[in-house]
Structures are given as C-alpha cells and as structure tokens.
Symmetry: C2
Subunit: 389 residues, 2 copies
C-alpha cells in the first residue's frame, strides 16, 4: 500500500504549525466554501431517536431524490442503479473490487488521483499508466498510446473528468474517442466526476451521456466537493449494468451501510436552488485566474490554464518536488508563513515523472492565494535545489 502523497507531508505541516508558522493549504482539495446552510440544517433539525443503520445501498428516499439530481444533469438512472457509498473513495474501491479480478489491469492517464493506486493495490489490480503532458495542458493521450497499453488483461479505463490533479476538462470529442475504445476492446469505463459542476471553459460531457455503452460505464460520484461536504463521506456508485450492481452490493452489505447523518445532508442538497453553483463557480474561476497568472509570472514556472475542478498543475524550476514540498514546511518561511503543496510525483505511476511539478488546490480565498503565491515566489528564490534555466 503506497502512502498518500496528499497526506504524507501532514506531520511536517503539524510541526511547522507548532513552531508558530502559518501554513497555506494548497495541498488538499478541502474547499473553504461554506457547506450550504440548508444542508447542515437538515441534519441539525433531524428528529429521529435511533441512529440506525441505513439500507446497505443507502436510504431509498435519498436514492430516489438523487435520480432528480442526475436527471437535471441529463443522466437518467433509477434508484436501483445507485449505491450510496462512504465517500467517492468507496465508490472507487467498489469499482476496483467488485468489477475486476485480482491480476486485471486498468489504464489510467497519468498524472492521476493518487488514491486510485491505493485502491488498485487493495484490489490486486495493476495500473497501467499512459502519460498526458503538461505541455498540452494534460489533454487525453493519443489513441495509439491507449492501443499500445491495452493487453488481454486490460478490463477498464479510469478517467477523472474534470480532472484531479490537472484540472483538465475532457471535450465531447475526447469522450467519443473513449467510447470507441471501450466498445472496440470490451472494456469498462470508470468515470470519476466529483467535479462535474466546476467547469469554467467548455461543456461537460458525462460518461453517462455516451450512448450505446450503458453496460460499460460506471460512475464514481461524491457530494464532497459539490456541496463542500467532504467530512460527510457520502458518494455514489452508479451504473446501468445489473451484474456490476449485484457484485458491488455484496461489498456494500459487508460494510453494512453508509453514514446516516450525511445522507440526510445529501438528500437536502438536491433541493438547493438551481443557481446554487453559480456563485461557487464564479469564486473558483476567480481563484483559478489569479493562481494561474501568479504562477506564470514567476521565473521558470509554467502552469497551463485548467478548464475545470479546482486544481492546477505547475512546472517549477526545482530538482525534486518531494524535497521541495518538505523543505517548504521544514526549512522555509516568509513573514512567518509558508505554503503546503502536493508533489506531483505521487500522481504519476511511472517513477521519475512529476519531479518538477506540483499540484495546487485553489480552495482558499484570493487574499490567501496571493499570500501563498508570495511565499512560493520567495521560496523558489531561496530553495537550495532550484534549477536555473
């Protein structure tokens, strides 16, 4: 089991804070956006007497309600095609464990959400990465790279759209390329669409929008980012494939039920006004514009403009992103402050890639982003391992 690249530096951050240093957290996708009050109130005003197990697939009332949410997103499923999971994490775990056998291979464009590796390891599944590049803004790799990677053991392609860690938003054309690939090779398409609502340039195409591949597609979803409800630990495993649902239900039953409190929150969230996301999206867009322009203004730094989610990947003039991110916490401060970033190495499956890249989650306000960028700019001047180009 690999250590989480997003969380492994936590002890260094804790030590820095104990030394009195303010740490700007750009390392983890924990939004500062307030959880909608109506959602929190639904929990706070609940009046049950016994905090019971829910159905293993989640409360029926919640699953029915969720079909309304999906319908608004042009995703037409019924309540029996949804299994409520303990966070998006568990939806991914169910995907790997219930849909694949140990020894199977999955293809994932890298860099990718690091915990896919952890869940693949837990399921005995091998990840075959194919590389996207910062130079093209992390667009879908060319079809020939997929074809070269596909073997008889390949059972699925995993995508995250809009992408974590790159922020890349797959185009409708790229989604069609994926559709042809999964049809041709009879593969599953696992689609992590945690950031569905956060698209700033271009239209979002869900894997569930692809016609004629309904039995191939599994949606791995979560309310964590959508409603700033990460601590609720509520996600969903959604598919029209009955066999996969049956297999996933066995895993769902083994862990008894998803958390009850946050199912109430999730159910209430479906009734938020339709314009709820507009304000949040505007905030994230402003932050994106700021962080990308601040980064690209630093000597030797390159950051492509991400089309969605709330992450940016940046190439820095440094020797080793793991060392640099640790040094930021252990040995650096500027005006009593420093910044915590996620080294990109943890998002690449191929050893050696990402050594001069970091991921930044723009989940703090613009003042904080500016302060964090001031720290980063100063740090890049002082860092002993800087590369002068």
């Amino acid at each position: 089991m690999p250590a989480s690249p997003i969380r492994k530096l936590v002890p260094y951050a804790e030590a820095a804070k104990k030394r009195g240093i303010k740490v700007y957290h750009l390392n983890i996708g924990q939004p500062d956006i307030e959880t909608p009050e109506a959602c929190l109130n639904a929990v706070r005003h609940s009046d049950f007497k016994v905090l019971e197990y829910s159905h293993s697939a989640g409360n029926e009332s919640y699953r029915k309600k969720l079909t309304e949410y999906y319908s608004k997103n042009n995703i037409h499923v019924n309540a029996d095609q949804i299994i409520i999971t303990t966070g998006g994490s568990e939806a991914i775990l169910f995907g790997f464990m219930a849909c694949l056998d140990p020894g199977d291979e999955v293809i994932i464009p890298q860099p990718f959400y690091a915990n896919y590796n952890g869940f693949a390891t837990a399921a005995g599944v091998s990840v075959k990465p194919i590389s996207s590049s910062i130079e093209t803004g992390f667009a879908l790799p060319p079809i020939k790279d997929f074809e070269l990677a596909i073997s008889e053991k390949t059972k699925a392609i995993v995508i995250c759209n809009p992408n974590n860690p790159t922020g890349y938003l797959y185009s409708a054309e790229e989604m069609q390329v994926l559709k042809q690939l999964i049809l041709k090779h009879d593969l599953f398409l696992f689609a992590d669409e945690a950031y569905r609502e956060f698209c700033y340039d271009g239209e979002f195409t869900s894997a569930m929008h692809l016609e004629g591949v309904e039995d191939h597609v599994v949606l791995m979803d979560t309310i964590s980012k959508r409603y700033s409800a990460c601590g609720g630990r509520i996600g969903a495993f959604v598919t029209k494939n009955k066999d996969l649902l049956d297999a996933a239900m066995k895993f769902a039953q083994a862990r008894l039920s998803p958390p009850s409190f946050a199912q109430i929150l999730g159910e209430a969230a479906v009734d938020l006004p339709d314009d709820y996301f507009n304000k949040t999206k505007a905030q994230y867009r402003e932050r994106r514009d700021l962080i990308v322009s601040r980064l690209n203004a630093m000597p030797g730094v390159f950051c492509p403009n991400p089309g969605g989610a709330f992450y940016a990947m940046a190439k820095l003039p440094i020797d080793d992103s793991d060392k640099f991110c640790q040094w930021l916490l252990e040995s650096f401060s500027y005006k009593g402050q420093t910044v915590m970033l996620a080294p990109a190495t943890g998002f690449y499956s191929t050893v050696g890639l990402g050594k001069n890249e970091v991921r930044l989650a723009y989940v703090i306000n613009t003042d904080a982003i500016n302060a964090a960028m001031d720290c980063l700019e100063k740090a890049l001047e002082e860092y002993p391992g800087k590369i002068i180009t």
Copy 2:
C-alpha cells in the same frame, strides 16, 4: 465475495412488508434502544460552517477523549495508538489488509461474524475455522484444535468477545489460553469487542488486558452497539504495535477520513454518566432471559444461555435454516405477522454446519419478542421441512 447472510434475505422481507405483513427483525443487530440524547444533541447543536475532512486517523480531540473511555475500561492507550474508522467494519478491514499479506491464514472459532469472511476475501486472506459447539454453549474450542489448525501461513487469531453470533463471553482463563497461543506461535490476536459493555454473567476480559503481548494485540472497536449509533459508522483500530499503526494509516489516508458528524457524537458519548450502561444492560438481560426461556420451551428447540452481547443461537428442528428463514418471509404468517432470523449457515465457514441453527438478535422490546416467539412457535409447527424428533 460472499453475500452477507444477515442482509441477503432483505428483498424477501421487503416483499413481505409490501404484502402488508409485519416483520419482527431478529436478523440484524440493530438495537431499538434510543441513541443517548446528549450524543444526538452534540451533533444537532454543532455550529461549524464547513463540513471538512477530519484527520485521516480521526479528530485529535476525539482520539484524546477516547483514551479516557478506554482508561475507565482498564485499557491504557494514548491518542496516537487509535485510528478512528468508518464503523467497526473498517477496523476489521484495516486489520486484515494492513496487518496481513495475501495468502496468509487467520484462525477464527466458528460460528463467527459473517462479514469477517467478506473482509478476508477482500484482503486475499484465508480463514481457517475451528469449531465451537452449541452443546458447550460455544465455549472456546480446545487448544489442540488451534494447534492442529496453525500452519506456517497462520498469522492471526480473530475473536469476537462477547461473541457475535453466539453471545458467548470468554472467561479470563480462556483469554490466557489465547495469550499463550499467540506468544508460542508469534501470532496477532485481533479482538472485536463491539459488545464490551453487554456482559450479563461473569467478568469481561479485554485482549488489551493481556500482559506481555501488547505488540500482538489489535482491538477492533465500534460505537455502533455501545451507544445504539450504528448509522454513525464510527469505530476504532487500536494497537500498541507501531508498525501495524503505520500500515493501517496508509489505508486510512487512502480513504481520506472517517465521517465527521458521528465523530462529534462519539466524543460526546465519552462524557455520558458512568451509570449510562446499567439501564441498557438491564433491558438486554430481561430480553435475553425471555427469548432464551421462550425458545427452550418450544419442542425440539435448544438455546444455550448467552453470557453477553445481544445474540442467541438456537438449534431448531428443521431441515435447512436458509430455506426456513426464507419460508418465514415468503410463505408464512401468523396473525399477519412473521419473524426474520439469520440462518446460522452464513456464520460457519465449513459448508454443511449450522443447517439447523439460527441467530436471533434480541434488539426489540419484550412485547415484540413475545409476538416474534409466538410466530416462531407456530412456524415450527407448520414448516414443511420440520424434523420430528
């Protein structure tokens, strides 16, 4: 992945209810006891603005508080030796996944909590059952049975104390036998102590009370039954073994964090008055006495008196407990009512065992237990597969 024997009959129960039949649920350990109001209020009166991820090991404040709870139970651990999990289920999963390698074997006295099988399967670990018997009230199997089952692949013994599904409470002497075994063969002892507070006859001995085997013992704990908070999905993985903690933390980080709401509930629970469990225990004891006497009064039925937890195992004069439990839901009713039981076959790893045994969870009030026993008594008269002794 095996289907959960506790939940696989759920569709039949749902169908019976749709036909207007009242179903008494003795099949699942979902207590009807009210969750302590102070605990629910701690959640309802919380005033945070953002439902954030917690620390992967759980909130530090909760872990610190939990050390007080454990200390009252003569279990002395510090906050760093506790990882808060998503239910006891995840504590068990972490035990199998983080402490063992695929191909390793664990020894579990059967019948055992069926989901151990599921988690072992998920981890690629083999379960080697050794049998306890209803005739001895499901006491710990003789030491020679353990010795015969131990191979070079054996890495751990798993116990649930007080036991689910049997209700058996291991004596201090039996715990010493286990201590000698794990020392002699250098094994881990995984102890599921979900029902610690519910002991009716005799003293409880925790695996954490055993001296000289601190590095061998892993406690798999949960607040689900203790505070009737099953839907909270909060448990704990507790050990003094630093290597196991480090390994489990990788899994904890991969799933990001345990649910936030119910950690608040769990923290508040530690401050409940010391006599909180007295009333609950008295209720369960009354129910146990009732259900055991009702069962033993039925012709051909035998139910040993369980010393703890809230389960009883009964031997019934039937051909096949799976068929019988399904028949109760599909084809039987008495005064518009029926009873849902858990077939014992799912609690045995050895095929063929438990065919004339069922597990009953006495988690409903005494009136309901009487009504459920009326149904069962009638059903045993009518069941086409009854065995006349």
